[in-house]
């Protein structure tokens, strides 16, 4: 116990006293942790509440489910309420219906007798529980399954093509000397300066002219030649000794074999970094799919979510649950990556 306390109170400098900067540090760190994770946790908690509970104010921190009971003479299970009776005692009653400010209730043990109770005197009997239908319904009744599938298809194929094309270009730019190599590199640097928002209109017409409009390929293809990816891989490949390639050539390996049997396996760490970035970028893409896709069944999760959230009657219980689903891959990446974040993802992430 004292070891833990010692660990937690370990601080900079000498002496045993806490400097005010130590206190400020911990306030900032704990406050920061609450700020960074709190909103996502609130989203997850809310996503398990049923619509009635979502409309409540003040909202409860945890999702609850109202207890129900099957009462003789009623087909549907009835919600249970704790009711304060006129004599001050408390009884658990099932509600049949609510008319204005009074509720018609029955005692589950004695279903014959109807009681009229002012609604101010009753509180729902409820336990912590999850409204799982928020997660099930959008997949069954709406297009969310299609959105999920589209997002997965776009993310996986774009990432695979990004790895292939970027590593091929990086190989040519790092392991061969040829006329115009610097010019090619310069062009690739130059494309870093051209964000999507600057070429939105003509890119749309190019995609239209190539017949890719309103298809998933129209979302995938323009994204695959990332300058960041080419750079990252090229820098890594420059560190691979050329002797390996020379030795392979002696053994009559073709250039293509050198690429995929020697260079690619040795570049695996950099490829993994690019793969992770690519998955996060493509999964999160919003503006470009929003413009290219106009048929609902082709929407990706991001576009679908925005569309449902933009409707006049926002069905928050479904939106929140689907937002959580959209968040899952990123949270998985985060959990696996958090050790590596310490060691400078920043340099590679400039995009």
């Amino acid at each position: 116990m004292s070891a833990i306390m010692g660990f937690l109170t370990r601080r900079r400098g000498h002496g045993g006293r806490w400097h005010w900067t130590d206190v400020a540090t911990w306030i900032w760190l704990v406050g920061g942790t609450v700020m960074m994770f709190g909103p996502a946790l609130w989203l997850i908690s809310s996503s398990f509440k049923d619509p009635a509970q979502l409309a409540e104010f003040p909202p409860s921190l945890l999702p609850y489910v109202q207890e129900v009971a099957t009462v003789e003479g009623f087909a549907e299970p009835l919600p249970l309420f704790a009711v304060t009776m006129e004599d001050g005692s408390t009884r658990v009653l099932a509600q049949v219906r609510r008319v204005g400010a009074t509720a018609q209730m029955v005692d589950p043990a004695n279903p014959e007798e109807r009681l009229r109770i002012p609604i101010a005197n009753r509180t729902p009997v409820r336990n912590i529980g999850l409204a799982l239908e928020n997660y099930v319904d959008p997949f069954l009744a709406f297009d969310f399954f299609a959105y999920l599938r589209n997002s997965v298809v776009v993310t996986l194929s774009a990432t695979l093509l990004t790895l292939l094309t970027n590593s091929m270009a990086a190989f040519a730019l790092s392991k061969y000397r040829f006329v115009g190599r610097d010019a090619v590199l310069l062009v690739i640097v130059g494309t870093l300066m051209v964000p999507l928002s600057v070429i939105l209109v003509p890119l749309y017409s190019v995609v239209n002219a190539t017949g890719l409009l309103d298809s998933l390929w129209g979302v995938i293809l323009p994204t695959i030649a990332t300058p960041t990816g080419v750079f990252l891989l090229r820098q890594y490949m420059l560190t691979i000794p050329d002797d390996l390639i020379e030795a392979a050539r002696m053994d009559h390996a073709s250039e293509w074999q050198i690429y995929w049997r020697i260079i690619l396996p040795l570049t695996a760490p950099a490829l993994a970094v690019l793969a992770i970035f690519s998955v996060v970028w493509r999964w999160n893409d919003f503006l470009w799919p929003l413009i290219v896709l106009s048929r609902r069944e082709l929407y990706t999760l991001q576009v679908g979510l925005n569309t449902y959230a933009g409707e006049l009657n926002v069905q928050w219980h479904y939106i929140l649950a689907m937002t959580v689903v959209t968040m899952i891959p990123v949270v998985v990446v985060f959990i696996f990556l958090q050790r590596f974040i310490t060691t400078g993802i920043a340099g590679a992430g400039v995009k």
């Binding site: 760190l29 960074m36 003040p58 909202p59 061969y176 040829f178 070429i199 991001q302 920043a346």
Partner: protein, 336 residues
């Protein structure tokens, strides 16, 4: 567990290996015909073709678009109007009052973006700087806390927008806190000031982790002996900060500043999902203007959108060149 992962990895890679094998004889033939030069072309072609078709061609077409009028999207159906779109955008009696301009919405977007960038970048640099300084201290669980601040960076802008819309709505978490403090609940996203502040705050929340990591890398590159020498001389911490930390971190700070500017000017996704540009046009920024004029509005005009995007592109090119220069200086400083 580990061997299962390896097995799954092999199974996933297997079709790719097969693909590479099948391709090999074809490429051998190609190599024999064209030599190494042909192979270099083969390796470069897919990437350059995509760059060419989806970046370079649109870039050139953008100038053509900006000189044509009408609401047609195909370039062939549009008529040449010369510099008229630029005249329209820049025709203004008083640039500080968007309503006196012919393209009033454009100037509203420009003004909003300038105000947004001013506040967001200052907030971003301040908050990331404080966080980086704190994470650079010798605290337990440092690795964990570094990751914590990076978490929102990975979230999709749509998710970020929806999370905060949910918190800021009338029955939301913020109003729960506000009422617990004894104040009246507010419909935050119906108010121009609160909505604009929310856009600034939320985008800072979402991206500060990224800039914190850059600054942290800069802090860790500062030689430790400088601090040891300062401690020997019993230099007060504030003086150490102003005399050692800040000057040596300067180049990194400049890179962060310009990068945040470049990203801030392009703000769209999370702000659009959070506010939809409203209330009214209070949070309509440049990219949303281009998107709406080019695609979404009833009176769409791709030529006007193209001209506006070229003006924005010019600003971004200047800033990017500044940033490349600064990063080079920052790197040189580290080598020295």
């Amino acid at each position: 567990m580990n061997s299962l992962a390896t097995l799954l990895g092999r199974a996933a890679i297997w079709p790719l290996v097969l693909f590479a094998r099948v391709l090999d004889p074809v490429l051998r033939l190609w190599q024999r015909r064209t030599g190494t030069g042909g192979m270099i072309a083969f390796f470069l072609l897919p990437n350059l073709a995509v760059f060419g078709v989806f970046v370079i061609v649109p870039l050139i077409l953008n100038f053509a678009y900006s000189m044509t009028g009408s609401d047609q999207i195909l370039l062939g159906d549009r008529r040449y109007v010369g510099m008229e779109q630029y005249d329209r955008l820049l025709d203004c009696a008083n640039y500080l009052q968007p309503l006196t301009c012919r393209a009033d919405q454009f100037w509203v977007a420009v003004r909003n973006t300038v105000v947004f960038v001013t506040f967001q970048v200052s907030l971003m640099v301040t908050v990331s700087m404080i966080t980086a300084l704190i994470l650079n201290r010798n605290i337990p669980g440092r690795g964990f806390f570094r990751a914590v601040f990076f978490f929102p960076v990975l979230l999709s802008p749509v998710v970020v927008g929806l999370i905060w819309r949910w918190i800021l709505q009338r029955e939301g978490l913020l109003n729960l806190i506000v009422t617990n403090l004894g104040l009246d609940p507010v419909v935050w996203l119906n108010d121009r000031f609160y909505t604009f502040s929310a856009a600034v705050g939320v985008s800072t929340w979402a991206h500060m982790g990224f800039y914190t990591l850059i600054l942290l890398a800069g802090l860790q590159a500062i030689p430790k002996d400088l601090y040891e020498a300062a401690e020997m001389d019993a230099t007060p911490p504030t003086r150490v900060f102003w005399r050692i930390t800040l000057p040596l971190l300067g180049p990194n700070l400049a890179v962060v500043l310009v990068l945040a500017l470049i990203k801030g000017i392009q703000i769209f996704d999370e702000a659009y999902v959070l506010t939809g540009g409203g209330p009214g046009t209070a949070t309509m920024f440049m990219t949303q203007y281009i998107y709406e004029v080019g695609f979404a509005s009833i009176l769409r005009d791709p030529g006007l959108a193209a001209a506006a995007s070229i003006l924005m592109g010019l600003v971004l090119v200047v800033l990017t060149l500044v940033q490349l220069g600064l990063s080079r200086r920052a790197e040189k400083g580290r080598e020295r």
